[in-house]
């Protein structure tokens, strides 16, 4: 029987020196789906990914990739970008692609065609004869990203793919991830930058202190929290907002506030109160951001 799921984790547990890093973690991901594995630093994201990649063994639980247990054959169907980046500094750009392509079982002419295509896409075509150490950090990151996808894997596992990239390159990587989804490839990526994740994921899994706190479709997760949120762009002193009795929670970024109301019907009252004290540039009723959801979840967990 062929499994519906490209990736299936069941009850993963991993302890490091008596400390539980991952606790009874399960998830399922279908073909052509983008799954964001979200959580703060040290939540257990990388440990989970390492277990998926068979780099470390779980203490208990099972992992199935494309319906199979991990095997050597599977390695060619996965593209993996580790959290800490590294390439051979003395190797030339094209040699690097060739080496990793060959390791993934690609033929030489295949590597050439794909490599040139991607180098062009990532604006690196003029660097193919340069050594890796001559590249800027961002360029090296792009090169490593290409080595991850060059062999057209069925499953892409990206550990913090946006870390260290400038906004333009973040866009680029995001586009590639979306393009891969259209090709029917499953992409699982971890990040602690919720704002980026929010824009592209289909499903969200949130992990905190090794435990899964949220798992589901992005839309479902958001609607579960309801639309009690207001986004305000303003100028002035906004400290009074937190003490308003109909306000549940405020996240103030200085020029912008995310305000959670106890009842969304009080939004007009809020606007009136705001206008009387500060200058309001924009006022918008929104869904909760992943950031807000996450903070709520973590706080709930601690309250228990």
């Amino acid at each position: 029987m062929i499994s519906d799921y490209v990736l299936e984790l069941n009850g993963l547990v991993k302890d490091f020196n008596g400390k539980r890093a991952v606790d009874d973690f399960s998830l399922k991901s279908k073909r052509g789906e983008i799954l964001g594995l979200l959580g703060p630093n040290g939540a257990g994201k990388t440990t989970t990914i390492r277990m998926i990649m068979n780099i470390i063994a779980p203490d208990s639980g099972t992992i199935k990739i494309l319906g199979e247990n991990f095997s050597e054959k599977l390695k060619e169907r996965i593209g993996y970008l580790p959290e800490e980046r590294g390439l051979y500094r003395k190797m030339k750009v094209f040699e690097t692609l060739h080496f990793f392509g060959e390791l993934k079982g690609m033929k030489s002419d295949e590597i050439k065609a794909k490599g040139q295509e991607y180098l062009k896409k990532f604006d690196l075509e003029n660097y193919s004869d340069k050594k890796v150490e001559e590249l800027s950090k961002g360029m090296a990151q792009k090169l490593q990203f290409i080595t991850t996808i060059i062999h057209s894997p069925d499953l892409l596992i990206l550990d913090e793919p946006f870390a260290g990239l400038d906004p333009m390159n973040i866009e680029l990587v995001k586009d590639i991830i979306l393009e891969k989804r259209r090709e029917g490839i499953t992409v699982i990526f971890s990040t602690h930058l919720m704002a980026y994740a929010e824009k592209i994921v289909d499903n969200v899994v949130m992990i905190n202190q090794g435990k899964k706190v949220i798992d589901g479709n992005l839309f479902d997760v958001k609607s579960e929290f309801g639309t009690k949120f207001v986004n305000v762009n303003y100028e002035g002193d906004s400290t009074f907002v937190a003490s308003l009795d109909y306000v549940e929670n405020v996240r103030d970024y200085g020029n912008e506030m995310e305000i959670e109301l106890k009842d969304i019907n009080r939004k007009d009252v809020l606007l009136k109160d705001l206008v009387s004290k500060v200058s309001v540039n924009s006022f918008q009723v929104t869904e909760p951001s992943l950031n807000n959801i996450f903070i709520r979840k973590v706080n709930e967990g601690e309250a228990k």
Partner: protein
């Protein structure tokens, strides 16, 4: 074959390095220097030495001076200059007395210190003279002379002094018997010992000193390249571990493939280098016009080159496996050096036993030591280079060390697989043993 991908990569990475190209060129230059330097040295000669002879017997000084003028040996190698002493008579007597006291105490088996009068001591310490030869009155009977100098380890000088005085005394005794000086000189002429090595290919002129030097030299080359390539592997592994390339590699291929690919790839690079050197040496040595000492030519046989390659390959695999285990187990170069030091000592032990090997390459201790796999690459190679051990012993040592290397590889692959993905603190020996037990 993914292992081939790794081999290719490792090989290219080394061969393209500047240091590889430089050492490939520089080593033969140094080797040539080593071969030509002794020839050069004998031509340039040594520094002149001023030596005083204090002759209380009255029979040695004059003939010594004459012999020194006539001696070809002195002009070629030693260049000694002898001076008559102008010391006051009372000084001479004092010194003579001191010598007598010393000899009496020694005869009575008492602790005695040889004493020089202050004037002589000062001259030697000031370096106004390089040495002082004291010849007692009764030298004819005791055959005892004294040579006092700052440097007494110059064997050439020492031997020249003792043999010259020996001749002078023999001449004196015989001419006192009214035998013609010419006859005496003819009677006591030196016998020269030519040393010839018997081999299957034939008997060739050789000298033990040269053989010793050459075999230590070859051993040093063997040791140096094995160490260099071992360290290269170690550092490569640490680099991959530190920048986490290893995670990508392991997610693309087996740890074992990586392990063997690395060792084979870098080994092939080493073999390339050794191969180039041997080719250069062959091309170079065949030019007889260069006037290379035939004893060196006779030493560097094709057979020796083959053994060099065999023992290089075995030694390389054995030690590079150990070095890559170290690389996989540690996190920094500093930690690695601590672990690597014992491996280096393992390779240095044969140098100490080596002296024994050249003196007597077929004693039981040497045979057993050379069959011990860790010492085989160096010690057995040394034995092959100075003597011809029984072929059965060579074959046995090769088989044993290959078996040992295979065991090491099996063990190493296991440690490597776990170690390379472990970050953080340095593992304890217990932990490493646990890694071996992992399935």
């Amino acid at each position: 074959m993914k292992v081939w991908t790794i081999i290719k990569k490792e090989y290219k990475q080394i061969v393209k390095k500047k240091s590889f190209i430089i050492s490939t060129i520089l080593t033969p230059v140094m080797m040539a220097g080593f071969i030509f330097l002794p020839m050069l040295l004998t031509k340039v000669g040594r520094e002149e030495k001023t030596i005083i002879i204090e002759d209380y017997s009255g029979i040695v000084l004059k003939p010594f001076e004459e012999k020194n003028k006539a001696s070809k040996e002195v002009k070629m190698v030693l260049k000694l200059k002898f001076e008559r002493t102008f010391a006051a008579i009372e000084n001479k007597e004092k010194q003579n007395k001191l010598i007598k006291e010393y000899e009496q105490k020694r005869a009575a088996k008492q602790d005695a210190q040889f004493q020089l009068i202050p004037e002589y001591r000062k001259k030697i310490l000031d370096k106004t003279i390089d040495g002082l030869i004291l010849i007692p009155e009764d030298v004819k009977e005791t055959r005892q002379v004294y040579f006092c100098a700052l440097n007494i380890s110059d064997f050439g000088t020492n031997k020249y002094i003792s043999s010259t005085i020996q001749k002078i005394l023999s001449e004196k005794i015989l001419t006192d018997q009214n035998i013609d000086l010419k006859v005496v000189e003819e009677a006591i002429r030196d016998v020269r010992l030519g040393t010839f090595k018997v081999k299957k290919e034939g008997t060739t002129r050789a000298s033990s000193g040269m053989e010793y030097m050459m075999s230590i030299f070859m051993l040093t080359i063997l040791f140096t390249i094995i160490m260099a390539y071992g360290q290269l592997i170690m550092r490569g592994v640490i680099e991959e571990k530190n920048n986490r390339i290893v995670e990508v590699l392991i997610s693309s291929t087996r740890a074992q493939t990586l392990f063997y690919g690395k060792i084979i790839g870098i080994g092939l690079a080493g073999l390339t280098q050794v191969g180039i050197w041997i080719l250069l040496a062959v091309a170079f040595m065949r030019r007889a016009s260069l006037g290379i000492d035939t004893r060196i030519l006779n030493f560097l046989t094709p057979e020796l080159a083959i053994y060099f390659i065999i023992f290089f390959i075995i030694g390389y695999f054995m030690f590079s496996i150990m070095f890559s285990i170290v690389g996989a187990s540690v996190n920094t170069d500093q930690e690695a050096q601590q672990f690597a030091a014992p491996i280096t000592y393992l390779m240095l032990i044969p140098f100490i036993i080596g002296i024994m090997v050249t003196q007597n390459p077929n004693t039981l201790v040497v045979i057993i030591a050379s069959l011990f796999p860790l010492f085989t690459p160096t010690l057995m190679f040394m034995r092959v280079s100075v003597a011809v051990p029984a072929f059965s012993q060579i074959a046995l040592s090769i088989v044993l060390s290959i078996l040992f290397t295979m065991f090491l590889a099996w063990l190493g692959a296991k440690i490597f697989r776990v170690g390379i993905l472990m970050y953080g603190k340095r593992p304890t020996v217990n932990e490493i043993i646990k890694w071996i037990r992992y399935k």
